[in-house]
Amino acid sequence: MQFVVNIMVLAAIYALIACGYVLIYRVSRVLNLAHGELMMLGAYLLVATASAFAASPLMAVVFAAVMSLAVGGMVYLFLMRRMTGETVLAAVLTTVALGILIRGLIVLFWSAQQQHPRAMLGWDNPVIVLPGDARISLYSALLIVATVIVYGGLFLFLRFGRWGIRMRAAGQNPLLAAQRGINLHAVFALAWGLSTFTGAIAGMLIALDSGLDSTMTMIGLKAFPAALVGGLDSLVGALIGALIIAGAEVGVIRFIDPLLADVVPFIVLIVMLVIRPWGLFGTREELDRV
């Protein structure tokens, strides 16, 4: 049972991060290589708000999440918008530069020290005992719950929401969408905002569970194979891809050799790229456009 719980927690982490890659790629065809850094920034924003709202911990979390949404939108409006009309490669390289900038700024503002936002907020992390004597910490359980809510919310938003439908339209055919009066910049800014928001939720919950340090940015990159395996333009694919990668990783740790944990996501990715380069739920046409 603990084995299954371990897979679910890791899959939730990867899925929550991977949906950020998918949201931006699906709408604007940009591969955001600063997603790990934006996720980490969201967690550091919680450190900032935890100090400012010490008397109201819940407010600190809400405020940090809203700020993350705003940061994502601003990244588009003040940086990525300028890349409109440029090559995809130029946009991707811009995100690499953005990542370097965020890493530097985080050290400047919060130093390189490990942070413990949970202790700052005065919260505990009790262990929940599940059937079969499996155990899960409160924040790990919240990671799973948050993943379900985020994916459920995004499904409803994209299927039925006015702005969600606009996002899908902009992703499918930006020219036609613009001709129909859809404000593409607003749609792209919203996609960046939502992507940073979901990444920040993951970052905050990981930080609340086990602390925050600058290695978090590498965790963001580890979720990338999940998005690729599922298909870069599919949210369902990101979810399934996360489950596959997490299952393979935890299985290798448990039954083969923990040393292989780092490479197995990339072995799965390579196998997928050989068999089905556009991913499990991605579309071939999308890959050609990359």
Partner: protein, 386 residues
């Protein structure tokens, strides 16, 4: 025309003489360190401690009236950046000593550059390379507290003293060569001592969840765990074990974060073994560090490594016949004994053959829930370095 050229030549010569005089006014030391990037938390506080110590020396008049100019360059733990930093220090800045406070992956280029230019290279807060142990490379020195193989000897000796040799031992390392090498050594040493290694977990540097690794240790019924890895990996593995309901004893290396973390975790079965004294000792030198660290981004108790490096650098420069000459500084470093003022279990001694230290001392600490403070569980235990 000839007079004009002589005048130009004269001015150029005068300018060169002035710039040479300026260069001799200060002792230049170049430091390449991982001040940003994923591992910065391990190095940046120590570099800050060193900088504060050098400021203190300069405020007191420097060395032989010459101020020490500490040139700090960030390498982000990237070998290419470390190599570029080293080249700059050696070709542009003309440093008398170079310091590496970064990941072991940056060692090869900095060692090569330092050797090529005949400038001594000091490893401070970064893991001591094999070349500083006897028989030492004449150009390489190390002040860092932890020492491969000696740490595991001290750790397993402590476990044996607490629970005897008949224990089920869990081992934990990070997937980097230096950490894995130490835990492989500990595994063999444990077997020789009669212990039963039941689980050896190697966690990748970026691990989102340590629970799957901890589950293996828990399932193996380990009674003790010895972890030798960067602090983040050590503490996260321990906390994952506790969340799984594991009730054994955990021994980790006392990196610079140890003191603050013992106070945060407050677990009496979580021990740390290390070669630096913790600030709970309340030594006078610690009051000096705390005073210097006021207003800093890092707590004073994370600066011991840098402060110790500063003490050794000051002593070496004072002992050198010409502190601005790399050759003279290296000669002084090859035969030196520095009083650690209680920060370590004895003086730091380097000989021509040993650039690690002649004796390594270890103390073990834990959190005492009764006194609500950190306590010394085992006092300084010496190991001769041969």
């Amino acid at each position: 025309m000839m007079k004009k050229w002589i005048a130009v030549l004269g001015l150029a010569t005068a300018g060169f003489a002035v710039s040479s005089a300026n260069a001799q006014e200060s002792v230049k030391i170049g430091l390449t360190g991982a001040l940003t990037g994923p591992v910065a938390g391990t190095y940046a506080p120590a570099v800050e401690g060193l900088r504060l110590y050098i400021d203190k020396v300069n405020a007191a008049g420097g060395v032989d009236g010459k101020p020490i100019e500490l040139l700090i360059q960030d390498d982000g733990a990237e070998p290419s950046k470390a190599a570029a930093n080293a080249k700059r220090f050696l070709t542009q800045d003309d440093v008398a000593m170079m310091i590496n406070s970064s990941l072991s992956s940056t060692y090869a280029p900095t060692i090569a550059e330092a050797k090529r230019n005949g400038v001594p290279l000091l490893f401070a807060a970064s893991v001591c390379p094999a070349e500083v142990f006897p028989p030492a490379d004449p150009n390489l020195f190390c002040t860092t507290a932890f020492g491969a193989k000696y740490d595991s000897r001290a750790a397993l000796g402590f476990i044996e003293g607490k629970s005897g040799a008949d224990v089920k031992l869990g081992l934990h390392a990070m997937a980097i060569p230096v950490s894995r090498g130490e835990i492989d050594f500990a595994e063999e040493l444990g077997k020789e001592m009669g212990m039963t290694p039941v689980s050896k977990e190697i966690t990748p540097p970026p691990t989102p969840d340590y629970t799957p690794f901890a589950t293996n240790i828990n399932n193996a019924d380990a009674e003790w765990v010895w972890s030798w890895a960067p602090w983040v990996a050590q503490i996260k593995t321990f906390e994952a074990l506790r969340r799984l309901g594991w009730e054994g004893d955990y021994l980790a290396y006392a990196h610079l974060e140890a003191e603050g973390e013992l106070e945060r975790v407050k677990d009496p079965e979580f021990f740390v073994v290390g070669a630096n004294a913790l600030f709970s000792e309340g030594l006078p030198v610690m009051a000096d560090i705390m005073s210097a660290a006021e207003g800093s981004s890092y707590p004073a108790n994370q600066m011991t490594e840098g402060w110790i490096a500063g003490m050794v650098i000051e002593a070496a420069l004072k002992a050198a016949s010409d502190p601005t000459s790399a050759e003279s500084v290296r000669e002084a470093m090859s035969n030196i004994s520095v009083d650690m003022q209680g920060l370590r279990g004895g003086p730091l001694e380097w000989t021509a053959d040993n650039h690690f230290r002649t004796q390594q001392n270890y103390r073990v600490y834990r959190w005492n829930p009764d006194s609500e403070s950190i306590e010394t569980v085992q006092d300084w235990t010496p190991f001769d370095v041969q």
